[in-house]
Amino acid sequence: MNSKLTRRRFIKGVIFSGAAATTGTGIYLAANAQSGQSTAERLITLNVNGRERRVDVLPTETLANTLRYKLNMTGTKIGCNRGECGACTVLIDGVPNYACSVLTQNIKDKEVVSIEGVKEADGTLHAVQQAFIAENAPQCGFCTPGQVMSAVALLNNNPRPTKLEAAAAMSGNLCRCGAYEHYLNGVMRASGQLA
C-alpha cells in the first residue's frame, strides 16, 4: 500500500530531523518523539486484508490475538500458540508467518492477509481452497486456514512447484489428522498440475 510506505518514510523523516535537533536519546517513533522516553502507542492502524483498521493494541499483544479477539477474524486458528504448529499462519507483506509469534505492534506498516482475505470480493473461493475441497484435504479442518495460507504464499512465488518444493513450503504446518498427502495433492491441483 502506497499510503503505508509513505507513512514509514514520513516516520523516518521525522526521526532523522528529530535526531538532528536533539542531543540526547529517546527518539523512537514519531508518536513517541515528544515524550522521548515513552514506549509503543496503543491506538494503531493496521492493514488487514486490504482494509485499514484502527485497533487498541497492547504492547506485547500477538497478531493472532488481535485478529481473533479485537477484529473478530476467527478464521486464524490458535493451535499451540508458540510457533510449533502453523495453524495461525498468515501472510505479512506476502510472506507466511506465525501470527501467534509476531507482535501486532511490529506490523504497523505492513500488509496482513489472513484466511478471510484470500477469497475473491464476490465470494468465489481461491484456487487453493477449491483444490483442497476437491482433494478432500481437510479432515478435522483446524489446521486448514494455515495450510491454505502457506499454499497461497507458495503459489504466488512459484506457480508450478514440484511436489518436493510444495512439501518444503508446507513443512511449517502440522496436521494432526495426518492429511499431508491430501494437502499436497491440493497444492498440485491448484497449480494446475493435477487434473
Binding site: P96, V102, S150
Partner: protein, 329 residues
C-alpha cells in the same frame, strides 16, 4: 506449576536507530530484553519462566539488516532474517556452508522472521531450564537433566560444568567454521569477537551462552574471505526434518589441493554448550588425502573426551559418523 500461553504485559520500545537502541539497552540494563524475531523470546515470556520490564524490539532498525560485501569478505547485519541468509546470492556463491545451515533452521515461517543474530544468541533448549525450574543455569544449585531419571538425550557430551545443556543453533557451527567475527556495540563503543569466543560455556559463565553483556547489542557478523569457496560439508541430524533442533550437526570447510587437505575447520553443534571445533581431527588430516580411508582413520578421535549422560550415548557414534562423512564427501 501453572502453564500459560499468553504474552505478559510489558513495555515495548521500537527504536529505528541503533544508537537509540543502545541508549535504551544501557538505561534498562537487566530489566530490558533485546528482541530480534522473537522466536526464542516469546516462549520464555509466555511460560513466565523469565521476565523483564520491557522489550527492546530491534526489528525496525534497517541499518542492522542485509548483506554487504566488504574489502575482505562480507558483513551480515544481525537482524537479517534466516530466510535472507539462506537465499542471499553472495552467501550462496562464497559461503554456501552458511546458506545450507540457515536453510535447515526450524520451519519456513520461523526462518522468515527469525534473525541471524537471534539464532546465534538463543538460549539453550534444556526443557527443565525452560520450564522455569531453579537449575544451575537459572541461578539455582542443581541440575535436573543430569540425574538417573533425567531426560537428557538432547544434552551435551563435552565440557559440561554443572549445566549439561547443548548449543541449539544450526548457524553457529557454520560461523565458527568460517572464522566469522561478531561485531558488538554498546554506548561505550564497539568490540569485535571471534565467533569461537562469542559462545560461552558453563564453566566460564553459567548464566549466559554468549559473551554479550548488559547494554550490548550484536550488530553484525563478519565473514572474511579466508574460507570463501572452500570445499564445504553441512549436515543436520534431528528427529524431524522441520522445526526440530539438531541432535548433532556438523559444519566443515576444507582447503584441498591435489586431493590433499591443506587446512580445515570441522565444527559440531549440539554436542556441548558451544559449537565444538574438532581440532584434533583438523590437525590429523592436514596433509592427508581427503578420502574415505583418512576419514575412517580419524573418526574415532572426534569424540575423544566425550562423557555420555544416561540417554545421549548415541551421539558419540553419530558425531563420529558425521565427521567421517564430512571428510569422505
Amino acid at each position: 506449576m501453572p502453564s500459560h500461553d499468553v504474552m505478559p504485559n510489558m513495555e515495548l520500545y521500537q527504536p529505528v536507530q541503533v544508537e537509540d537502541a543502545l541508549a535504551i539497552a544501557d538505561r534498562l540494563a537487566d530489566r530490558g530484553w533485546l528482541v530480534g524475531g522473537g522466536q526464542d523470546t516469546y516462549g520464555w515470556l509466555k511460560d513466565r519462566a523469565k521476565d523483564a520490564d520491557a522489550l527492546i524490539d530491534l526489528s525496525a532498525i534497517e541499518s542492522l539488516r542485509g548483506v554487504r560485501e566488504t574489502a575482505d569478505g562480507i558483513e551480515i547485519g544481525a537482524l537479517t532474517t534466516i530466510t535472507e541468509v539462506a537465499t542471499n546470492s553472495v552467501i550462496q556463491d562464497k559461503f554456501s556452508l552458511l546458506s545450507q545451515a540457515a536453510g535447515v533452521v526450524a520451519s519456513p515461517q520461523i526462518r522468515n522472521v527469525g534473525t541471524l543474530g537471534g539464532n546465534v544468541s538463543q538460549d539453550v533448549r534444556c526443557w527443565y531450564y525452560r520450564r522455569g525450574l531453579s537449575c544451575y543455569r537459572a541461578g539455582g544449585n542443581l541440575c535436573y537433566a543430569d540425574t538417573p531419571q533425567g531426560m537428557n538425550r538432547d544434552h551435551s557430551l563435552f565440557e559440561a560444568s554443572r549445566c549439561v545443556a547443548a548449543s541449539p543453533s544450526d548457524t553457529a557451527p557454520a560461523l565458527v567454521a568460517l572464522d566469522a567475527a561478531m561485531v558488538i556495540r554498546s554506548v561505550n563503543g564497539e568490540r569485535t569477537l571471534a565467533a569461537e569466543d562469542y559462545f560461552v560455556g558453563p564453566a566460564n559463565d553459567i548464566l549466559s551462552t554468549t559473551a554479550l553483556r548488559e547494554g550490548e547489542i550484536l550488530t553484525a557478523v563478519k565473514i572474511p574471505n579466508t574460507w570463501a569457496n572452500a570445499s564445504f560439508y553441512f549436515e543436520k541430524v534431528a528427529d524431524r526434518n522441520v522445526w526440530d533442533f539438531s541432535l548433532v550437526n556438523i559444519a566443515a570447510a576444507f582447503k584441498v589441493s591435489g586431493g590433499v587437505v591443506e587446512d580445515s575447520r570441522i565444527v559440531c553443534g549440539a554436542v556441548q554448550c558451544t559449537p565444538r571445533r574438532v581440532t584434533n581431527v583438523e590437525n590429523a588430516i592436514r596433509g592427508q588425502a581427503k578420502n574415505t580411508a583418512t576419514a575412517e582413520s580419524v573418526a574415532e578421535m572426534a569424540t575423544d573426551g566425550a562423557r555420555a549422560l544416561a540417554h545421549n550415548g548415541f551421539k558419540i557414534p553419530l558425531m563420529q559418523n558425521l565427521v567421517k562423512r564430512a571428510i569422505s564427501a
